[in-house]
């Protein structure tokens, strides 16, 4: 179950905001385990283009998703300036490659609006809400939608 | 009260320990007669419960060995056995057993018998 930021209750919500291309996205900071610099990943054969491969996270195998490619944009030309946001989804841990971390926002849940229905671009299925902070539109990412689809689970 | 329980069956050891623990009686266990004598040398029980059929040293021999020791000439020793036959009891008696309890045992009866023979 993913967190629903459109919940009517007015509790505080902390979001980690980051840049992908020219756009700004955010994710519930409670889901973020750590932020680390880019290091080359070991590519996985037959993987979708947005899966950059796997890296060694202190002995664990961490899959890396290129968020730009996942959202249907050009893949990120990763350099050491790029960052990987390590996120926890229930039992799964996922590294998300973004351009840069931009901000930490504290909002009320009521500040977040649901995405407009008419959006039929690829991005919409990964966006669970929108908010405006200092005239910047920030999209709230639905992490479950970002997870790579791997067909069969374990062999 | 502190009791030494000797039985080669882990299940029976566990059950005896449980019955005794629930009655507030502390216990130590051993897996056969040889092991029993070894444990006995490191504790001072108020009573001993022992099985008969055991590897290395059976219950009869174990009781005889215990009775040879000055400190344990009069210690109550209860035999825990599935054999209710008369000759088994006689043999246990000859070896120096105080009494016997037939498996499967009722925890309350086991504790009752222990309290009786120890006067506790």
């Amino acid at each position: 179950m993913t967190h629903d930021p459109t919940d009517a209750s007015n509790s505080d919500l902390e979001l980690l905001a980051f840049r992908v291309g020219e756009q700004e996205y955010s994710v519930d900071i409670m889901k973020v385990r750590e932020i680390r610099g880019w290091s080359p990943a070991t590519s996985l054969p037959h993987a979708p283009d947005y899966v950059r491969g796997v890296i060694n996270l202190r002995g664990a195998v961490l899959p890396i998703v290129d968020l730009s490619a996942r959202l249907g944009m050009d893949p990120i030309e990763a350099t050491s300036r790029n960052v990987i946001i390590v996120m926890q989804l229930e039992t799964q841990t996922l590294g998300v490659l973004v351009d840069a971390v931009s901000d930490i926002l504290t909002l009320q849940k009521s500040d977040i609006q649901p995405p407009p229905e008419l959006a039929n671009g690829k991005a919409s299925s990964f966006i669970s809400g929108l908010t405006i902070v200092e005239d910047r539109m920030i999209r709230v990412i639905d992490l479950a939608g970002v997870l790579p689809e791997t067909g069969q689970a374990a062999a | 009260m502190n009791v030494l329980a000797v039985d080669d069956s882990r299940t029976i050891r566990n059950m005896v320990t449980l019955a005794l623990t629930q009655a507030g009686i502390t216990s130590q266990v051993a897996e056969d007669g040889v092991h029993g004598l070894e444990v006995l040398s490191q504790m001072a029980p108020d009573a001993i419960i022992t099985d008969i059929n055991m590897p290395r040293m059976d219950g009869f021999e174990f009781i005889q060995e215990v009775r040879k020791q000055d400190a344990y000439q009069g210690i109550p020793i209860l035999v825990l056995t599935t054999e209710s036959a008369q000759d088994m009891k006689l043999r246990a008696r000859q070896a120096g057993a105080t009494g016997w309890i037939v498996k499967p045992f009722d925890p309350a009866k086991l504790v009752g018998a222990l309290r009786m023979v120890t006067g506790g």
Binding site: G59 | S41, F105, D106
Partner: protein, 726 residues
């Protein structure tokens, strides 16, 4: 879990251990072992199962174990001599007992009919066997010995017993009955650890007791030996109780005392009652400390031969007999905890490798202090790894012993005579490997009996012992465990195997195959040599499944067969599943690991001859044989087809059907052990990839799954693979 449920769970664990030692003992007896202790151990195993089962009310199990035990008791008491048939029956009974344990554990129904037959067979061994009526009555009585109560079946002792229980009801309404008990201690009572005072206290729990010691018969004090002296006690009990209850109090003293219990007439007034604590009155003797009589002030009654009372402060006992041997202490640990430790040690191994690598990269290893320290660190890490792996390791013995049942049943079903010889049962291997080996091994053992060995008649015709032999052996061989199943049967009938394979279209009819190639046809999917469906075949499992199971454990399987002399199947397994022997390779700048177990041979491409067939299929011509070529870089999408680098290397991989494939890689780096990291949990299934590992530089390398790779590369049974050049 509540404590009883926990004990019950551990009971079933204990049962499987007991069943193992039962079978082991019986097999020793079968092998000619005449040591009485062996039979004793067999008896004890059944006895312990019965004892525990009784505690949990597992009546079916108790019932069967009791019958079995009764016969074994006759054997161990030398009242019953046994022959080979009897031992076979005992083994069969052990199998039934094992089924009953499983049924009780899994709460599944039992095959009563089968067990009844076994019980009936057991009864025939008993003296006067066949008289089942009487025996079963006896047994039922034994079983109904009032479970969960103290045994009360000793006959009443004492000559003046006046059984008058019938009046209790009549008098209950009137006054409390009064019982007079004449209790005379006999020699031996003290030695038995029984204490008259405690007996009287226990009696007082039934009702108020007066106790008077009759000192008239006491000898003079000078000759008084407490342990030899008979003391008379006249006890009066006011209690609405029965003679049986009173006798029960003295149960432990029976044979060491005489009891005369009388129930007084009802109109007799109750005598002055006093609690036993207030008595007894021993006018002449209270000052004597050594007197065996109970004395009220003494909380601790005097004991003969020692001033210390046993239940307070016994002296340290004399040294234990010399035959006392230390018992190995064991700890039961959750498998999960061990696996966590195994994982951590895996990290340590990687970490150590990374450290070594970075130190040597900076030329720091020329410093002797550093390099010595590093060597020690490496040694230590290895030792820790070995020790941790040893925790997961278990002897193959239980697994092997299970196979003797398989052999018995298979021999029975096929009317063959088979002897199973186990060797190297102490060989240890990872627990999970053992668990996952059970099914393939069972299948292979069945095959050995069903297909490997001949019928006794055929064997006799060939001047062979009508009894066939199967050797099941485990050995350590260069860091792996090798398990061999060897039969002394007829060997593989290659002519028949080939014709079957041809008739099933598995090989072209004109193919000419070597003996080894024909043998390997057995591993092809869909192959079965059974011309008629016997009990043992027809289970939908073939040797291909066996091979796949072995390969999934990182193992290899091979066959050696000599016509007329039998076949040997060898399974080579890694010691553990957490670590894999791998070949580190590179392809398109990606470092990968190929399991060593799947590599048959390596060649540089210059030595191999590549030929392109139609549709761009490439084959390597090696030793007169065309082997399909698979470019790993192409398979993984790293490179366009047909641009194999000049100095590429070819790994010959054994596919699922035993056919070789040539896998092209760019470079071979080294052969090393790697720690296996699952990919499935963190990412998911990757075609052609089994798992990942972390190399010395901290980077992740993928571990290939060659079988999966080949299976995905196209239909594996192209005739090309088998065409021969001569």
């Amino acid at each position: 879990m509540d404590p009883m449920a926990e004990i019950k769970a551990s009971f079933f664990v204990e049962c499987s251990e007991l069943l193992e030692s039962l079978e082991e003992g019986l097999l020793q007896v079968q092998g000619g072992d005449t040591d009485p202790e062996t039979v004793n151990a067999v008896f004890r195993a059944v006895h312990s199962i019965k004892g525990g089962a009784g505690a949990f009310g597992l009546d079916d199990l108790v019932h069967f174990a009791h019958r079995f035990e009764t016969v074994l008791d006759e054997v161990r008491s030398d009242r019953l001599a046994i022959d080979a048939d009897a031992v076979l029956l005992f083994l069969k009974s052990a199998d039934s007992l094992s089924d009953l344990v499983a049924a009780a554990r899994d709460e599944t129904p039992v095959d009563e009919a089968k067990n009844t037959v076994v019980i009936a067979e057991l009864e025939t061994l008993m003296p006067g066997g066949g008289d089942t009526n009487e025996t079963s009555n006896d047994a039922d009585q034994e079983l109904n010995f009032a479970p969960m109560t103290l045994s009360l079946d000793l006959p009443a002792i004492g000559s003046q017993v006046d059984a008058d229980i019938g009046e209790v009801t009549d008098e209950a309404a009137a006054t409390t009955p009064v019982w007079t008990i004449r209790f005379t201690t006999e020699k031996g009572l003290n030695q038995s650890g029984n204490e008259p005072l405690f007996l009287m206290r226990a009696l007082a729990e039934l009702g108020p007791v007066t106790a008077i010691c009759d000192t008239a018969d006491l000898p003079s004090l000078k000759v008084l030996d407490p342990s030899q002296t008979n003391l008379h006690w006249d006890l009066t009990l006011s209690a609405d109780t029965s003679q049986t209850d009173i006798e029960e109090v003295f149960e432990f003293a029976q044979g060491l005392c005489t009891l005369a219990i009388t129930k007084n007439t009802s109109d007799q007034s109750t005598p002055d009652t006093a609690d036993i604590e207030a008595l007894p009155d021993l006018p002449d003797l209270p000052a004597l400390p050594d007197l065996p009589a109970p004395s009220v002030d003494d909380q601790a009654p005097a004991q003969p031969a020692t001033e210390n009372t046993p239940h307070e402060a016994p002296k340290p006992p004399a040294p234990t007999p010399t035959k006392a041997a230390p018992v190995a202490a064991t700890v039961r640990v959750d498998l999960e905890r061990i696996d966590r430790l195994v994982n951590l040690v895996g990290e340590l191994v990687i970490n150590q490798a990374m450290l070594s690598q970075s130190l040597s990269a900076q030329n720091l290893t020329s410093n002797t202090t550093i390099s010595t320290g590093l060597d020690e660190f490496q040694q230590l890490t290895r030792d820790i790894q070995d020790s941790v792996m040893a925790i997961r390791a278990q002897p193959v013995k239980p697994l092997f012993q299970r196979m003797s049942r398989i052999v018995r049943e298979a021999a029975h079903d096929t009317h063959k005579k088979v002897r199973l010889v186990l060797e190297g049962e102490a060989t240890e291997i990872d627990k999970t490997v053992i668990e996952r080996l059970a099914d393939p091994l069972t299948h292979m053992i069945r095959n050995a009996v069903d297909h490997g060995l001949e019928t006794p008649e055929k064997r006799e015709q060939s001047d062979k012992d009508p009894e066939g032999t199967i050797h099941l052996r485990a050995t350590h061989r260069s860091g792996r465990v090798v398990i061999e199943i060897q039969d002394n049967g007829a060997g593989i009938n290659r002519e028949r195997v080939l014709s079957i394979a041809q008739s099933k279209g598995l090989v072209p009819t004109d193919a000419v195959l070597s003996d080894a190639e024909i043998d390997n046809l057995l591993f092809m999917p869909g192959f079965s040599t059974a011309t008629e469906i016997s009990n043992l075949s027809g289970r939908g499992v073939g040797m291909d499944v066996v091979k796949r199971a072995i390969q999934s454990l990182g193992g290899r399987i091979s066959i050696q067969s000599t016509p007329g002399h039998g076949s040997t199947f060898s399974i080579s397994l890694p010691l553990t599943l957490a670590v894999l022997d791998g070949m580190v390779i590179e392809v398109s700048e990606q470092t990968m690991v190929v399991p060593l177990s799947s590599i048959v041979e390596t060649l540089t491409l210059a030595d191999a001859e590549i030929q392109t067939l139609d549709q761009g299929t490439q084959v390597v011509h090696i030793r007169g044989k065309f082997v399909p070529l698979l470019d790993l870089a192409v398979e993984f999408g790293y490179r366009a087809p047909n641009v194999i680098p000049e100095d590429a290397v070819v790994l010959f991989i054994s596919a699922e059907d035993g056919e070789p494939y040539a896998l092209v890689v760019d470079t071979i780096h080294e052969q090393r052990q790697v720690v296996i990291k699952g990919l499935a949990d963190s990412y998911g299934y990757v075609p052609g990839v089994a798992a990942a590992t972390i190399l010395g530089d901290g980077k992740i390398a993928l571990i290939l799954d060659p079988v999966d790779l080949i299976a995905r590369a196209g239909s594996p049974d192209t005739p090309t693979a088998l065409s021969m050049a001569g």
